[in-house]
Amino acid sequence: MKPQPAPLLFGLAVFILAAGMFAMSLSMDYYTRTGPGPGFFPLWVSGILGVLSILYMIVGWREKLEAGVLPKGKHALYAVSILAGVLLFMVLANWIGFLLSCAVMTFVVLCFHYRLWVAALISLAVAAILQTVFELVLSIPLPDGIFG
């Protein structure tokens, strides 16, 4: 199997995050009159994380992954539908309310696995049950929107 770039990319992402943390830690006090300051721990943690990420990139480059990291074909579609569903919920919830936005989110995920009318029915039922349990039974407020 050829070496996969995924471990290298991941290691690089962690290194960039660690480097950013390290840079921000330098702007905090490392030591104060009373002892270690707010920058003490972050500096060490981000420094060690940076070193570990470099080691990981070196070792991980040759890692033989059984399959690629990213899904392909219909599996990619299923994964994207989950992300799209949640993003839609976040966009719509405060506008159209919990019931409809939750139904839309669930429908986006289910529509690839069931007939459209079945997916719609299940989505509405799930959203209604969740709204009943959380708002009526547990008295936990959910987004209202223009439809409630």
């Binding site: 991941f10 943390m21 002892g35 707010p38 994380l49 080691l55 569903g85 949640v86 919830a93």
Partner: protein
């Protein structure tokens, strides 16, 4: 004697209608989680925390603990009936449980598993009763240096045992530590890595992190690999033959001891005692060739061990405030959310709450025996719920839960981001358990370390001059050394997996 009196008082509290109800809900959800592949006790506990907001602290912890040990019972059913472990600790049960089912003895396998689980679970709670208070008393002598050293041991054990690579374990541990630094510095009160966002001033929420890293990532991976469950066989007769009782009870006895001892070690998880118990039973058996073909001891021992593990694993949490696994880390989060601080002072300051929780575990184990054995066929049918329906349901619950925890859509976004991160981490075989454990312990670790440095006027070497902390730090160094040695020699074949997710 004092412990017995407190325990009896705890039973009085635990047997109230409200607490009994929540205990029942907890073990019921635990059974469900155990039966359903793809949903682990960590995710389920994190999902239910938002629901516990309106509850009394003791009821909330009783319910959440019930999910933890209840899931050990549930996982057995699908392992035996359809050769699909619903929960990772029940993987070993498939080896002899499924062959027994194929011989028409599914009921016997489930029966002995239920009896063993009850005995193991009850004995480990008894261990918690006996060991907990003296250990908590001893831990009252701990100052910041000792707590720091103890947390280092816990984290090093976890990293050392976790997965197939110490490097990946360390990387995950430091990612978790980095995430724990977001928010307000616990000692100096300075905002760190908040980018001016008010939501980040209190740091990232443990529940959102857990739901994202474990729940959403599992949904993403599960939807990629949808599988169908086969139809379970009918169940007839739940008790072993006369000649099988003796060997089965011996296996249960050995499993109880093994599970309890392993549960005391931070960083382990429920699959280790199950695997070790199976190996022990095979070694001590008169005819080891029966194993893999329907040996009842191969079911009794591991199932007892994984339940005995659960009660013992709560001891470090209750007495020292150290979570030993991701699920217990989430339970720790629940404690804190409800205004309780697990640790040595918990027994002395809130004895009524602690003993009520311990008493509820006896009750919960009893409930589970009655729910498990006679109703096994019913639970097996639940495992047939299609995953393409199950995962969207869990997603909807997770999203609502995330909104509830944070009170706004920011929390949903955080959960989603960590869900995607968890997906890639799993694909790259980077363990998630160290992330959540160091995240939980990060602030405590920083506080105890900085307090220690102030105590020693900045001289960290003085940590090695305190007897308890030097012993613990030497243990930590030895564990890390052996782990790295094992890694370098490539002797690490299987390590502890992220199995509680």
């Amino acid at each position: 004697m004092e412990s017995i009196a407190l325990l009896l008082n705890g039973f009085q509290n635990a047997l109230s209608f409200t607490n009994l109800f929540y205990c029942f809900i907890g073990v019921l959800v635990g059974m469900l989680v155990g039966v359903l592949p793809g949903l682990g006790p960590t995710t389920a506990t994190a999902l239910l925390i938002p629901l516990s907001f309106g509850m009394e602290p003791v009821s909330a912890i009783i319910m959440l603990s019930g999910i933890y040990y209840g899931s050990m019972y549930g996982g057995t059913i699908t392992s035996v009936l359809i050769n699909t472990p619903g929960e990772a600790a029940s993987v070993v049960t498939c080896l002899d449980g499924y062959p027994l089912a194929r011989q028409g003895r599914a009921g016997v396998a489930l029966g002995i598993a239920g009896i063993g689980s009850f005995i193991g679970g009850t004995l480990s709670v008894l261990g918690l009763v006996l060991i907990g208070p003296p250990l908590a008393d001893f831990a009252l002598r701990f100052g910041p240096p000792e707590f720091f050293a103890l947390m280092v041991v816990g984290l090093v054990t976890l990293v050392g045992l976790m997965g197939k690579s110490v490097l990946k374990g360390l990387l995950a541990a430091f990612i978790g530590l980095g995430l724990a630094l977001i928010g307000t510095d616990p000692v100096n009160g300075v905002a760190r890595f908040t980018f001016g966002q008010p939501y980040l001033l209190t740091g990232l929420d443990l529940v959102l992190l857990a739901m994202g890293l474990f729940g959403i990532s599992e949904i993403l991976i599960g939807m990629e690999n949808l599988t169908k469950a086969e139809k379970p066989p009918k169940i007839k007769g739940v008790l072993p033959r006369r000649g099988e009782w003796g060997p089965s009870f011996k296996a249960i006895g050995r499993g109880s001891v093994l599970g309890f001892l392993i549960g005391l070690i931070p960083g382990t998880n429920s699959i280790i005692p199950a695997i070790l118990s199976y190996s022990v039973e095979k070694k001590v058996a008169k005819d080891p060739s029966r194993f893999g073909k329907g040996a009842l001891e191969g079911v009794a021992g591991p199932e007892t061990a994984n339940n005995a593990y659960c009660g013992a694993a709560l001891i470090p949490l209750f007495t020292l405030g150290i979570p030993s696994s991701p699920t217990i880390a989430v339970i720790l989060g629940a404690f804190i959310m409800h205004g309780l601080t697990p640790g040595p002072t918990l027994f002395s300051e809130k004895p009524d709450i602690v003993w009520a929780i311990i008493a509820s575990m006896f009750i919960g184990n009893l409930l589970l025996v009655f729910m498990n054995v006679p109703m096994a066929g019913f639970w097996a049918k639940i495992a047939m719920v299609p995953q393409k329906l199950l995962y969207p349901l869990i997603l909807a619950i997770a999203v609502v839960g995330a909104y509830t925890v944070s009170g706004n859509l920011w929390g949903v976004g955080i959960m989603l981001v960590f869900g995607v991160a968890g997906y890639f981490l799993k694909k790259l075989d980077i363990p998630l358990a160290p992330i959540i454990l160091t995240f939980v312990l990060g602030k405590l670790l920083e506080m105890s370390f900085l307090q220690s440095l102030r105590l020693f006027s900045g001289n960290a070497a003085l940590l090695f001059e305190r007897p308890i902390s030097v012993v613990l730090l030497v243990i930590a160094l030895l564990i890390l050394g052996f782990s790295i040695y094992g890694d370098v020699r490539k002797k690490r074949r299987t390590g502890v997996q992220d199995v509680e997710m």
